[in-house]
Symmetry: C2
Amino acid sequence: MTVFWEQGYEGASLTDLTSAMGVTRKSMYAAFGNKETLFRKALERYTEGPAAYAARALEKPSAREVATAFLVGAVSTTTRPGFPVGCLGVQGSLAAGDSGRVAQDALIAWREDGRARLRHRFQQAIDTGDLPADADAELLARYVMTVANGIAVQAASGASRSELQQVADAALRNWPPV
Amino acid sequence: MTVFWEQGYEGASLTDLTSAMGVTRKSMYAAFGNKETLFRKALERYTEGPAAYAARALEKPSAREVATAFLVGAVSTTTRPGFPVGCLGVQGSLAAGDSGRVAQDALIAWREDGRARLRHRFQQAIDTGDLPADADAELLARYVMTVANGIAVQAASGASRSELQQVADAALRNWPPV
DNA sequence: AAAATTAGATACCGATCGGTGCAGAAGAAG
DNA sequence: CTTCTTCTGCACCGATCGGTATCTAATTTT
């Protein structure tokens, strides 16, 4: 997971991956079949581990807390010491040649799924009166996801945790942004 | 430029590049020396072409107009029909293996440069009273750049121009975000 | 303890990678 | 016409790519 996270799908060679796993090529292929499946497994592990903040954020009682927890989690995960900077879901395969296209599509679907969950949660907040009736759940979800994606790119560029926390605070200062 | 833009540095093979240029490998090497230099030239061309909106935005008379023009330009360039989606400066080499590290560093420096120019412009706005004296030019620049980077990721994920324009509007609704 | 499964190490597969050398054709300069 | 440069087409270089085969050592299973 961390090798894909740091080097991207195409940039991570079988040698890099298996030596990081402490396993031979043969064992890896016996267990996962191919590099694509291994990547999908790594993405699952990422979703349940470093990116679990997203699922937890959705459970917050108010839309404002959902958005805050989502962005705070993004800042925290993309700048955690001992882990690669940035987000696997963004930099794992943002642009790719033919060989990386399946990983690219998998990540697009992954981000799309996260956005759909945010939208659903915000719609629920509208329905219950937590958000104004004229709020746009689609727009709010895309806004939060866009800022989170931007934070991921900034983290990959070397931005520090406190710098990005300030950005997240700024993005949430007028919530909801309508 | 468009090949690097679409496939990323590592994903763009010499065959892809030279056939798109309508030139043989020999001629390309005679003209540019190697793939890294070709990438740098493509990035220059990108800066002066599709990304020229950034320089134009800095010349706007007020900080609000600078930020607006910057984000509108980002939306427009990352979703322009006939060109790859997203931003070469982001997806050209966000995560990479050893072979793509020089391109990665070049893009980090490229984004850093853009951010520094924004910061300088906002500081100027503070000095002239266009922005409040207690505004933070560093934070404002990073905020605008983060949203622009997020827009680039969203565009690469298939978001439409109008959807991203709404996000840009939302991000600018309370300007400056203090 | 014998048998069966798994893991290791290592060499190998065809294909492609970035980059180069060479022969010949086209065009300009004189 | 000759010479020089520059281009193309193409084969080629060593290295590495993802993926596989073989053969042996270790570990289970019975």
